[in-house]
Each structure stands twice: as C-alpha cells, then as structure tokens.
C-alpha cells in the first residue's frame, strides 16, 4: 500500500502495532478520555452519540476505545449524568453499531468499562469505596464501604459487561484503575484503609484489581484486556500512593495477565494540574518511559499532555511507549491523524487545553470543545459544511476568532470572502491577550496561526489596516452580497464618565496589545478574565498590581477549570485584590475605591486600567443596515463573551449564510 508523505515522516506513529492477537494498522490509540454526556439518563446510546462515534471511527486511529460504560444495574459505577451502561443485553444494539463503525474504519475496537467508585453513584445518595473516606470535592457523593460480597459482585458485573462488549463485536475491553475510580481507590493508600485482605500492603490493595483482571481474562482469554493505571496519582502528599507504589501496581497488573497498560496521570481531586495548558507538553512522558521499563513485555499506551504527533513519534522511536493514546486533540480536530499522515500538520486545529470539555462535564452538560464547534452536533445537518446553493461575495469586518472562523467556514462552502481588519494582522483582541497568557501563550497563539494558514489556503482576501465605517462602506457599496460584523467588543470607558478623574483611565485592550505601557504601580478595575490576564502579566513583569472587583469574587467569567489557576497566580504574584469594591474616583496619586460598607481606600497608582465592563462594537450593524443585502453579526460584536462563543458563532453563521 502506498504511503502518504506524513506517514514516511512519522514512521513510528504509522507503524502497525500488536495488541494481543490483533494488529492495529498504526500505533495510535483513541483514548476514552471523556464521557460525552450525549446519552439517555438510563444508559442508552443515542443517535447523537452514534453520529459522534462515526466521526471517532473515522479519525484514522488504529485502536479505538469507546467511552466508558458503567457495569452495574444499581448505578454505583455511574459517574456522569448521561453515561452509557452495559449491565444488560438491552443495550447491545447500539454497541454493535459502534463496533461496526470502528471495524469498518479498519481499527481494533475496545470497549471501556468504567466503574467510578468514589466518583460514582451520581443518581444515588452515596458512592462506594474501599473505606469511608470523605470526599474532598463537594460534587461527589458521600461514601459507603464495600463488603467482600460487594467486591465479588462487582467483579462478576465487570466480567458480564466484558462478555457483553465482546458479543457486541468489540475485540477487547479496557478496565479503569486510574483517576480515583473504583479500582484506583482500592489501590491507593489514601482511600483504602481496610484491615482485611483487600487493604494494608500494596499487594493487598491491588488484590481487587488482580481479581477483576483474572476474572475477565478467564472469561475471555482470547480477547485483549487493557487496564488504565496511574503512573502518578498526584495524591501522595495526602497519603496516596507514591510513584514507586503506582509502578508496583503496574507490575501486579502485568503479572495478572493484562495485554496492555494505559498510563495516566492524576486523580480528579488531585491538587496539582495534569492536563491543562499550564502543563508543558511532554511533562509526564517520563512516566510512560518508566512504565515501559517496568513492564517491557506489555504494550504501553500513553498520551497525557502529549498533544502533538511529532513528539509522540519521537517517543515511539525511543521506545518510551508503544501506542500514542490521544483523545482531547482529536476532539479539537478529528482530522488530526489524517493531516499528520498527509503532512498537513500546519492545518491542525490544536487542542488549547482550555478544558471546556471537562468544565461542562462537571455541570452535567454534554461535552463541547472551544476549538471544534461541530463536536456534539455531528448528527445535525445544520452543522455540516455543504456547498452554498448561491455563491456569494461576502465581506467580514474584523479578523478576530469570530470573523476568521466565519470566513474560513464560508470560504469552504464556496463563497468569496474578504476580511477587513483595522489592525495589521489576524487575531483581533486575542493577539494581546494570548501573548499575556500565563499558562501557555503558544497554545492561544496557535489559534491565530491556524487562521493565518487557513485564510491563505482557502484564498481569503485579507485587507489589513482598514477601519470599516459608514464612509468606507459607501466606497464599497454594491460590491458585496453579504456583510458579517465581527468587530468584537471594547472596554466601555463611558461607564466611568461620571467618575471624577475618569480621563486618567486607560483601556485594558491598549495595555494588552502593547500600545500603552503602564507605570510601575497599577490598579486594574475588573477582576474578570481580561483584568486577570492583564494584571498577572504586568505583575509578572514587575509591576505592583491591585485588582478592584465589584463582585464578591474574581474570575466570574473564567472557565471553571481555569478559575483556580488564576486565583493561584494572583496569590503567587502577590497581587492585591479588593472584592465587593468599586472605583470612586481617580486622583493624581492613584485610585480611590469604596467597598460594600462604604469604606474608602486610596490605592497609590501610576496607571488605572479599566478592564470592565465590556461593550459590543455593534454600531456597524445599525450603520450598514441600508447598505448591503444581508447583514449579520457574530461573536463579541453581538454580546461580549469570549473566544469559545466567538468561534462557535462564527462557524454556525458560516455554515448557514
């Protein structure tokens, strides 16, 4: 078979690899990193899920793991609101369909069985654990200790679910002994305080896992069994397992007969970050390499915070692991593997680690992706890119994420698109904020690079340094069939017009963009995401910064999984925060703020920056109303929100107009 150019470059990634008696066409495993929450409350797989799974099957991965199904009728193992179930034959038809999709794509099909234990019982008033160790996160249920009968029953339920998966056509199964789920909670000293043969030594703590592995292997000796295990719990400072103990448990799993170990990092409740963009790509690779050294005869799969195929190929070349386990990057771009194979990596939409997917899961919502507006909407024809029935000449005002997402989507449908941007490059206000992101500027800047690449490839005409206004519009009258206003939002300085000294206020966007350099003592009005990013970057550069926020807490508009990061950075940088406070006046010496009790505080400052409130740049929608046939708005120009809404709205409009 002829090789595509990227397959030669990334030869290790695209090399066939063995799992039990099966050979995968390449060394890429689609990991069941997230439960989608697309299914019914009682565990049935929905058409929405099937449509999504069809996309997963087509990702080009050689080994595909279907998302975790809970194995028990009571639902003690159920951890997510709309998680799929596999405790009864009544669920089989949809599993058969999914196994068929995966096989049709030429991949090996693995079904994950997910009993969440400590994080389970979502519909019940309790969860099950080895011992009664209270939760550290309020989201989860109060614990109940499992009896030995419960353990035996749980093993039997896993074996039944595994048999059922094989009957549905899957080639193998995967069990979950990581992240704090049931088996992991038995493995860990933190949650296992039993005094019977399932507690105490690491040998005893791993007994339940070994019995479960043994049960499944005895029932299905011909079918590969994968176990997901932590290389590090990141719970050791709370009395959890050390890394050495984690690897001892891997050896136990290997000796018990598993066919693959999937190495992961961290528990859900771990105080340390493991997969956000504040963790450098490759940070955890050493854990996979150690797993390979510990269990050299068993395939090792790994992918935590390893988002790029080039790095994965290098790791495979060095023998650090055998399968690149990837999921979140494929949520962001389901074409990632094909683009790698075709040497089109510059076109990849990178996962930027905003963890929108997880933020929504913990609010019992279906997962979505900041970078992929179609995720979860695969079944809806309205989200498909179809050739436009009428090819139009379209102008877009603004080259930020909303405008560019619209532009590339419309261009893919066959429209002729011209983007007018008042700045000198693509990015809009994201340019300034991305550069100041404390987590990983390159991730956010990759969004801009993606639009730069795609606008060129799709032949979108970019007109920079062009401010769109009514006069300009008159100069291009009748040239365009449609106009999309994606001019973003601005800081509403007028909101401070009644405040004494308001003329001294400066705009956060000007500071973020580097057009204005503040003094050494800075007050930032507004502790939302814009204020935080500006305050943190200035503080990092040595400024003495105070944030004034009218709400009770800062970060009100920040993605939940990033809120704690911002509060940590604020503390680490020593940024002073005054909440429930508002700006009263600005003097030559600084800012005077007043708190909820009416107490005034003077903060010495050279610069007072307004980072809130924001106001949409939607005036053009009124100005252009009688100047063009079709007029649309999208993104922050309609209502100030953020990149997520900008990208999604830009896409939806592009797919429709």
């Amino acid at each position: 078979m002829s090789q595509r150019p990227g397959e030669r470059k990334l030869a290790h990634l695209f090399k066939p690899a063995r799992l039990g008696r099966y050979t995968a066409p390449n060394s890429i495993k689609y990991g069941a990193c997230c439960v989608s929450n697309y299914n019914t409350r009682d565990g049935y797989i929905t058409p929405r899920e099937l449509a999504r799974t069809r996309v997963i099957a087509g990702t080009g991965c050689g080994l595909i793991t279907n998302q975790g199904a809970y194995p028990d009728a009571k639902g003690e193992g159920k951890s997510y609101f709309r998680q799929i179930a596999l405790f009864d034959d009544k669920f089989l038809p949809q599993f058969e369909t999914i196994a068929g999709y995966i096989h049709d794509a030429g991949a090996i099909a693995i079904q994950q069985i997910l009993h969440a234990g400590r994080y389970g019982g979502i519909d019940l008033g309790y969860c099950v654990q080895p011992s009664v160790v209270p939760q550290t996160l309020p989201h989860f249920r109060p614990p109940r200790e499992m009896s030995k009968d419960d353990i035996r029953c749980c093993v039997a339920e896993h074996v039944d679910a595994a048999r059922r998966a094989i009957r549905a056509g899957f080639d193998g199964v995967e069990v979950t002994s990581f992240m704090g789920y049931l088996l992991a909670s038995f493995n860990s000293k933190f949650t296992n305080q039993r005094s019977d043969e399932y507690g105490g030594s690491v040998e005893n703590r791993g007994r339940f896992m070994r019995e479960l592995i043994d049960g499944i292997k005895q029932a299905l000796p011909e079918h590969p069994l994968v176990v997901r295990l932590n290389g590090a719990e990141l719970m050791d400072q709370w009395g959890g397992n050390s890394e050495d103990e984690c690897f001892e448990l891997m050896k136990q799993a290997a000796d018990a007969g598993v066919d693959m170990i999937s190495v992961t990092v961290g528990w859900q409740e771990a105080p340390e970050s493991s997969i956000g963009r504040d963790v450098a790509p490759g940070h955890w690779n050493h854990l996979a390499a150690r797993a390979k050294r510990t269990c050299p005869n068993i395939p090792i799969a790994f992918g935590n915070r390893l988002p790029g195929p080039v790095m994965a190929n290098d790791c495979l070349a060095r023998g650090e692991f055998d399968f690149w386990e990837v999921c979140r990057p494929l949520l962001a771009d389901p074409e990632l593997v094909h683009k790698a194979a075709e040497d089109r990596l510059d076109e990849v939409r990178r996962c930027i680690g905003s963890l929108n997917c997880l933020s929504r899961l913990f609010r019992d919502l279906p997962y979505t992706c900041t970078m992929n507006p179609t995720l979860g909407h695969e079944i809806e024809p309205e989200y498909a890119i179809r050739p436009a029935a009428v090819k139009k000449n379209i102008m877009v005002i603004g080259a930020g994420p909303a405008g560019m997402e619209y532009a590339i989507t419309a261009a893919r449908r066959g429209h002729t698109v011209t983007v007018y941007e008042k700045g000198d490059r693509i990015g809009g206000s994201l340019l300034g904020y991305a550069a100041r992101d404390l987590a990983r500027p390159d991730d956010l800047q990759s969004v801009i690079r993606h639009y730069e690449v795609m606008s060129k490839k799709l032949g979108i005409e970019m007109k920079f340094n062009t401010e769109a206004n009514a006069k300009f519009m008159r100069s291009v009258l009748h040239r365009y069939d449609a106009c999309v206003v994606a001019a973003g939002a601005r800081i509403d300085l007028q909101a401070y017009a009644h405040i004494e000294g308001h003329e001294r206020l400066v705009d956060a966007l000007e500071v973020a963009a580097g057009r204005l350099t503040p003094g050494r003592r800075v007050v930032v009005i507004g502790g939302g995401k814009i204020g935080l990013v500006v305050a943190e970057s200035l503080s990092k550069d040595g400024a003495q910064v105070t944030i004034v926020e009218s709400d009770k807490r800062i970060g009100g508009d920040v993605m939940p999984t990033f809120k704690w990061r911002h509060t940590t950075w604020v503390e680490e940088l020593g940024i002073r925060v005054l909440t429930s406070s508002r700006l009263a006046r600005i003097t030559a010496d600084g800012a005077v703020v007043v708190d909820a009790k009416g107490v005034e505080t003077t903060i010495a400052a050279d610069t007072v920056i307004a980072a809130a409130p924001r106001k949409s740049n939607q005036e053009l929608l009124t100005d252009f109303e009688w100047m063009v046939d079709e007029l649309h708005g999208c993104g922050d120009a309609l209502m100030p929100r953020g990149m997520d809404a900008a990208i999604h709205e830009g896409y939806r409009l592009g797919a429709r107009v």
Binding site: G125, V132, V133, P134, Q135, T136, L137, P138, H139, F140, R141, P142, Q193, Q237, W238, G239, G266, Q268, A270, P271, E272, S273, S274, I275, G276, L355, L358, S359, L361, F362, R363, K552, R553, P560, T561, K563, W564, T567, T568, E571
Partner: protein, 151 residues
C-alpha cells in the same frame, strides 16, 4: 463529637480571626460547623497514627460552630468520622494551624496550605446540603471548586 465548655488559647485566637471574617459565614445555617483536626496524633504507646483511620480514643479538635449571631471557635473531641456531625473537615498537618494563625491573612494561609497539601479538605455532606447550609462562599474562598473539576 463532644464540644468542650472551656476555650483553649488556640480557639480564642481563632475566634478573633472568625470575628474579622464574618462575611464568609454570613449565609451559614444555625449549627453548621467546620471541624479542624490534626492529621496525626500520638497514641498512648507513643506511636504516631493518622486521625482519619478509625479511632477509639478521643482526639482534641477545633470546631467553628455557627451559633446565633456569629461563628464561634470551640474546642471539641473527635471520636471518628462516623460520629462527626460537622459539615466540613479540615485535616491539618503538624504546625499548620499555628502557622496560619501567625500569618497576617490566616485564611489566605489556609488556602495556600490546602494547595500545597499541608492541609486536607473534606466534605461531610452532599453538595446540595452544603449549598443549603450556606457554605458556598467559604468553600470558594479557600480556592476549592464548589463544583467538581478535573485538572
């Protein structure tokens, strides 16, 4: 769980901290409480053991208890997790509570200790119960996600 009638120097010191932060507890329900427990104690045999393990003897602990009008610091005795009726549990490593008390911003220091693992936070009630009993502000103020989060 037994609440003692007398006040130790530590509970008196925490009382002044609680009095300075009434806003954090303004929504808490009558009887709501936080138990503050040392992570390890020495048994009669002189050996150190974890207090979270099943205990037979009482272990001294601090209690922040919502009573009419305010949050009060009380001395109490811990007799195991099953007998604990508090809403929240803070398990403190050696010296951490004293370090927090010495700090200019005790709650800020508690937050840092939680993040660095010197202190462990546990919930003894469901999320909805905690919300109803007015703990949302306090939990968020410690930098803990009231809703779950995967990091």
């Amino acid at each position: 769980m037994t609440v003692c009638a007398t006040a130790s120097p530590q509970s008196a010191a925490w009382q002044s901290v609680l009095d300075r932060h009434t806003d954090l507890f303004s929504d808490t329900a009558q009887g709501a409480s936080v138990a503050l427990l040392p992570r390890f104690v020495r048994g009669a045999d002189g050996r150190q053991r974890s207090t979270v393990m099943p205990v037979s003897d009482g272990v001294p602990m601090l209690l922040w208890l919502r009573e009419p009008g305010a949050m009060y610091a009380r001395d109490a005795e811990f007799r195991g997790l099953k007998g604990l009726v508090s809403d929240l549990l803070l398990i403190a490593g050696d010296g951490t509570l004293d370090a927090a008390l010495r700090h200019e911003h005790p709650f800020g220091e508690l937050k840092r200790q939680l993040r660095s693992g010197q202190m462990l936070f546990m919930v003894m009630r469901t999320r909805d119960e905690l919300r109803e009993r007015g703990w949302s502000d306090f939990i968020e103020s410690l930098g803990l996600p009231f809703l779950g989060t995967c990091r």
